[in-house]
């Protein structure tokens, strides 16, 4: 029987992680969304390159944006703007407090670092419990079996998890931790369905195995 850390140590840690991630990164914490980025890596790399070009700025970029502005106005820019006087820096109204607004998507390299850290964290947790290398665990072996059957079940289960999280826009981390914390209606519903389905399937498999 696998032993886990007591809930009263894990729950505050998860809460601190979720809130701290939002405060530091200004992005909701999620795992499946990060993984999904790597399933369309070419598109994501192109997005990162585009972001870098826009952030770096260049005379060509500014000229293109000014040309688009002129096109938008339907004619040449007013003299006051076309003269290229320095833009005012102190009188522009300030943005409203960001509140719940998210920061832009970080580059793929940042999310790769995140995934490596998730794997490293799992590895360290297994080491701390002395369970690293113990396979899938007693409960899994009792319910599913071992060998090729177990591998097929893991592959099929993984595919279903990927399909389901893509379909509902998040997993137990994104919906369960961040979404519930932000009182998002979809996220309040999703974890209930996740865990109800998990409990039902576990009971069904347990009944079949006994």
């Amino acid at each position: 029987m696998t032993t886990y850390w007591p809930w009263w140590t894990v729950a505050p840690a998860l809460a601190a992680l979720t809130v701290g991630h939002w405060i530091l990164v200004r992005r909701p914490l999620g795992v499946s969304g990060v993984l999904a980025r790597f399933s369309r890596v070419r598109e994501e790399l192109a997005f990162d390159r585009g972001t870098a070009v826009m952030q770096a700025g260049s005379p060509a970029l500014e000229a293109a944006m000014a040309a688009a502005a002129a096109e938008f106005l339907g004619g040449p820019l007013p003299d006051s703007l076309a003269a290229e006087a320095p833009a005012e820096t102190g009188s522009a109204p300030q943005a409203a407090p960001a509140g719940r607004e998210c920061a832009p998507t970080p580059p793929l390299s940042a999310h790769l670092t995140f995934l490596v850290a998730v794997a490293a964290g799992g590895f360290l947790a297994a080491l701390s419990r002395g369970t690293f290398g113990a396979g899938t665990g007693d409960a899994f072996a009792r319910l599913i079996g071992s060998g090729p059957v177990a591998l097929a079940a893991l592959a099929g289960g993984g595919a279903l998890v990927g399909f389901g999280t893509a379909l509902c826009g998040g997993c137990s981390a994104g919906h369960g931790l961040t979404g519930c914390g932000r009182l998002m209606p979809g996220s309040l519903l999703s974890p209930g369905v996740f865990f109800a389905a998990a409990a039902a399937v576990s009971l069904l498999l347990g009944g079949l195995a006994s």
């Binding site: 585009g50 972001t51 688009a68 409203a96």
Partner: protein, 65 residues
């Protein structure tokens, strides 16, 4: 009323840098921000392309990069 996304929108910083780009800021960021293509996408939970302008046009980054 100005756009609540100004603090996080990467284009807003660009608009402040040059006088010739202030038209975007004046018209959209501090004006009709509800009509901004970037605002509408972000509000819908869709990721905003980096080269999308407020009026819905996209800049050709292959030329600029």
């Amino acid at each position: 009323m100005s756009c609540s996304h100004m603090a996080t929108c990467p284009l807003f910083a660009k608009f402040k840098m040059k006088a010739s780009l202030r038209i975007w800021q004046d018209f959209f960021c501090q004006g009709q921000f509800e009509t901004c293509a970037r605002f509408k996408l972000a509000k819908a939970g869709t990721r905003v392309p980096p080269n999308l302008l407020p009026n819905g046009k996209t800049l050709d980054l292959a030329v600029l990069g």
